[in-house]
Symmetry: C2
Subunit: 251 residues, 2 copies
């Protein structure tokens, strides 16, 4: 892995170009910001920190919340462990997503964050971010949008839906987050993680995928899922309300 040398070699000019050359592009929280804001963002951000190891921890639940992270590549999951030892995945973060935002306003991270696959992230200290938010209204609004988007998603997924509705909505949501074009999805996470996230047993996730496959709506081969009948999936997932045929919920 050349990750380590890469991150060490970056000097100030390279940092500025880090965002303009970023594969995430407009999907990043900074997408569409005025150049001046981007400049200031780049000034406080530490770009593409490598997280080559699967299961590598960004931060632990209860730790002092001093940073937020923007995913540049790979996938991060957040999860909690309750007093009974039950682990629950609270969110998957794909390129462009911000991890740790929900710690704004409290001193400690409410959950753990680890890599699901090898990943790269950009880091910003919370203090510097707050300073930036106070003086860059456009960025402030982008962060608010992320927070409200996460909130709407959490409220939607909190609903009482069947395993089929959940899994269909999950697949479509991942498709949207990955760009919304390709019908072949590489799911980075395990069935167990999907189940934990969707509040389903691992076996139920499997059975549901099998059922969708028997209907010809998808082709499920381990981590690769091909959507053959997105319209049918949309129809099933509609009540969940987290994805729409042509109209995206978020602005």
């Amino acid at each position: 892995m050349a990750f380590d040398t890469l991150s060490k070699d970056f000097s100030a000019p390279a940092i500025r170009s880090a965002c303009t050359l970023c594969p995430v592009g407009g999907n990043c929280v900074t997408g569409g910001l005025p150049a001046a804001d981007m400049q200031r963002w780049a000034g406080v951000m530490i770009p593409h920190l490598p997280l080559a190891q699967v299961g590598k921890q960004l931060y632990a639940a209860g730790a002092n919340a001093d940073c937020v992270y923007v995913v540049r590549a790979g996938c991060i999951k957040t999860y909690t462990v309750d007093g009974e030892g039950n682990e629950r995945v609270r969110g998957f973060f794909l390129p462009g997503d911000v991890v740790g935002l929900d710690a704004i306003g409290i001193g400690h991270y409410p959950e753990n964050a680890v890599t699901v696959v090898a990943a790269q992230v950009c880091r910003v200290s919370k203090g510097q971010l707050q300073g930036l938010l106070a003086s860059a209204p456009a960025l402030n609004m982008r962060v608010m949008e992320r927070l409200t988007r996460d909130l709407r998603l959490a409220l939607a997924l909190g609903g009482d839906y069947s395993a089929e509705q959940r899994v269909a909505a999950f697949l479509l949501h991942i498709q949207e987050r990955l760009g919304g074009k390709a019908n072949v999805l590489k799911l980075p996470m395990s069935r167990r993680d999907i189940g934990s996230y969707l509040r389903l047993a691992t076996e139920t996730v499997c059975r549901t995928l099998t059922k969708l496959e028997e209907r010809g709506w998808i082709i499920s081969a381990d981590k690769t899922v091909t959507l053959r009948e997105p319209a049918a999936l949309w129809a099933v997932a509609e009540p969940v309300g987290i994805c729409r045929p042509r109209l995206r919920l978020a602005a």
Copy 2:
């Protein structure tokens, strides 16, 4: 009702005093703000609009999102109706809570908002709020805190818990929101609303309350619930993670 005349008679000095005299006090989103920020907040806020009618709508899902509301008295619920006609309560808003925040960043409200009981709210236009956020960092941070608090609550309630855990957590959460002292709670909402919110059938809410009562942990009499063994409820609700014996999650 003298509500209407009250709201019409308020002039600038009265408006400024509206917050200092507000029964919500420090629980409001503006609690603890510098005097200068309070002044500006009071300048754009329209105080205690009366909503005497139960079921009175603040806004409809899909409507142009032009305002946010702070609850001054009573209770507001937000809910969605999916394509199958299923109604789902997404949140209850008690005095001090902000309704409509999750529409920041999108043009339309994602859900309906109606009164659960007679209520009073304060209104701020979204445009003026955004202007204020850009120039009053302390207020901006308070709003962020509300958003992240709502997000953490939604994520917590989204988990896979038993009916008993959910109901216990709900009761304790309401107690906290009402000040955290009194053990006698007046629940403003119906069993049906509670069930919709907690993802339980109405009957399951009833049965669970009955079960908790048989154990001597609570006394349930229609809308009035008395907590007799809060510690036992805490122990049951712990995995949900939305309320804590002595330590509150939010700052």
